[in-house]
């Protein structure tokens, strides 16, 4: 595909110039495609959330509410752009872009199909982790520049939760990387003759929950907890700047869904089907899987109430972190042992039977740890102490 674009530009440009132009064309199409999909994801989220809550959701703008995203955009575009006088102007204005940029950059290494990847980096997954770390700066910058205590509180909470959830998330990724033996996103997809969610279910669950926290989505959305701190870090933002934050949030959600699909749900491959069929079909499969994972996020949001900050951080450090560490150690041992047992040569992958065995071991460990956690971890909230009430109704 890229070769055709390059040869098209070659008719009137030099080779290096046409390669650069082809990259620009790729970026242009990718960004627009992603943003359009994201716009409809907001609609999907609202409709799905409505159905989960026994109502319909927005369905009156156009057929089935399909024009709702455009109505939202027009509304946000025409809103007054307010920069409060007390705000620190430069960080205040840069922050939305700084939040959006990493979310869009992730898509560089997302493999939509065997040939449809903007840059197949050897360190693909590391790039994802590194670049999404930048978005914290955007969030923190906006909170700091807003001259608003709620905004500052929100961004502080964001930093706290993102930093603690990055640890189990990365540990879960490392388990996958150990298994695959490569950080390249394409290699990870090509490895998955059976989806890695069956081989590493514990990693999958840890990764999914860590992402939900990373994205500041419900139930980990203390960053923008309406009942506590108004809108969190974007309290002071209006119009298009707010829209940029909103877009960044949803782009990141979709990007992380795509990463989940790549790491655990065998990417563009139809599960249990060996070869790639056609780039368009592969891309469609990838998109469907991504939307499915996004729907899981919506499902979480529609189900679980918001946690307190101590519960969130406690869940990260007391529950996810030990499981992730244990899982990593066991996976490392498994990889070593199975490589020996099945005499896997350099550059070859483990046979399917080894992967199945790993999956069974993983599930067994998951169950054991689940029961053990239930034994050892006491809920943070004890039963409220009941006070004896006297005849006069006074509390003793």
């Amino acid at each position: 595909m890229s070769n055709e674009i390059i040869s098209f530009f070659n008719t009137f440009l030099s080779t290096s110039q046409s390669e650069a132009m082809a990259t620009f064309v790729g970026i242009f199409f990718l960004i627009n495609f992603v943003i359009i999909i994201v716009a409809f994801m907001t609609l999907l989220e609202r409709r799905l959330l409505g159905r989960l809550q026994n109502r319909i959701g927005p369905n009156r703008t156009g057929p089935n509410g399909l024009l709702q995203p455009f109505a939202d955009v027009i509304k946000l575009l025409t809103k007054e752009d307010i920069v409060i006088p007390a705000a620190d102007r430069w960080p205040f204005n840069i922050a939305p872009l700084l939040a959006l940029m990493p979310a869009l950059s992730v898509w560089i290494v997302i493999p939509f199909a065997p040939t449809w990847i903007l840059a197949d980096l050897d360190i693909g997954i590391l790039f994802v982790i590194a670049i999404t770390g930048v978005s914290v700066i955007g969030v923190f910058m906006s909170g700091w520049a807003s001259a608003n205590k709620f905004a500052l509180l929100g961004s502080m909470r964001s930093v706290a939760s993102i930093i603690s959830y990055e640890v189990p998330m990365i540990l879960a990724i490392i388990a996958v990387v150990l298994l695959v033996g490569s950080m390249s996103m394409q290699q990870i997809v090509l490895f998955q003759s059976i989806p890695l969610v069956l081989v590493q279910p514990a990693s999958f669950v840890i990764f999914l929950l860590a992402i939900v926290a990373e994205l500041n989505r419900s139930p980990f959305d203390i960053v923008e907890a309406e009942s506590e701190i108004i809108a969190g870090y974007h309290t002071e933002y209006t119009g298009m700047k707010f829209a940029t934050f909103f877009l960044a949030e949803y782009t990141a959600a979709l990007a992380w869904s795509a990463v989940v699909v790549t790491l655990f749900l065998s990417g563009w491959r139809i599960p249990f089907v060996q070869a790639d069929i056609h780039p368009f079909i592969d891309g469609l499969v990838f998109l469907i899987k991504t939307i499915f994972v996004f729907c899981i996020f919506v499902w979480f949001r529609g189900t679980w109430p918001r946690l307190r900050i101590d519960q969130i951080l406690g869940f990260s450090w007391k529950v996810l972190f030990p499981i992730a560490t244990l899982n990593l150690v066991i996976t490392a041992i498994e990889v070593l042992v199975f490589n020996d047992v099945f005499a896997v040569a350099e550059g070859e992958t483990l046979p399917t039977i080894a992967l199945v065995a790993m999956g069974l071991i993983n599930i067994a460990i998951f169950i054991v740890v689940g029961i053990a956690l239930n034994k050892f971890i006491k809920p943070i909230d004890q039963e409220p102490q009941s006070y004896p009430v006297t005849r006069e109704g006074m509390t003793l």
Binding site: N54, R55, G302, T303, I367, V369, G370, N374
Partner: protein
């Protein structure tokens, strides 16, 4: 009960998933309308001029004094005392829909209606005049009218004065 860590959260997920495949509770009002309760005290009145004697019982019973009746004497041999109605105005802008006027009427001439879509932009628009009552839809409700309940009348078809009242005048 929960023997496995996080089992409660999973149960919650299954509960919401069930709602996903259920029909939403929402009624999309202008497109679909619910049939009001048979005893609904709606935002309208049904009045049968032929049953009304102009005795003004409803106007006397009204706690707010919003029923205005202007009559002049006439006679009808079959009934005896009878007044012809010149004006019969009900100011629903001030009405609290207590249905005491319906209870007061000895001749089953006035009923509560089941209309609820009478929003207007002026207070005057809320006043129901005699002409509106004469030409309006004759869809009474069962409020203080047990004969309608006995008929199992649900407010679906219009009733004339013989069907609605307990006896024909």
């Amino acid at each position: 009960m929960t023997s496995f860590y996080g089992l409660g959260a999973l149960k919650g997920l299954i509960v919401t998933l069930r709602y996903l495949f259920r029909k939403p509770f929402t009624v999309e009002y202008p497109d679909e309308k619910l049939v009001p309760n048979p005893r609904f005290r709606g935002n309208s009145f049904v009045w049968y001029e032929d049953r009304c004697t102009g005795n003004g019982a409803c106007a006397k019973a009204c706690p707010l004094g919003i029923i205005r009746i202007v009559t002049h004497p006439t006679s009808r041999p079959d009934i005896g005392n009878l007044y012809a109605i010149d004006r019969f105005d009900i100011d629903t802008g001030r009405c609290m829909f207590c249905a005491l006027c319906i209870e007061a009427c000895p001749y089953d001439a006035v009923f509560m209606g089941n209309d609820f879509e009478r929003a207007t932009k002026t207070r005057d628009g809320l006043v129901i005049h005699k002409e509106d009552l004469v030409t309006g839809a004759k869809l009474p409700t069962q409020q203080f009218r047990p004969q309608l309940e006995a008929m199992e009348y649900k407010g679906e078809e219009e009733l004339d004065q013989h069907e609605a009242g307990r006896w024909s005048l």
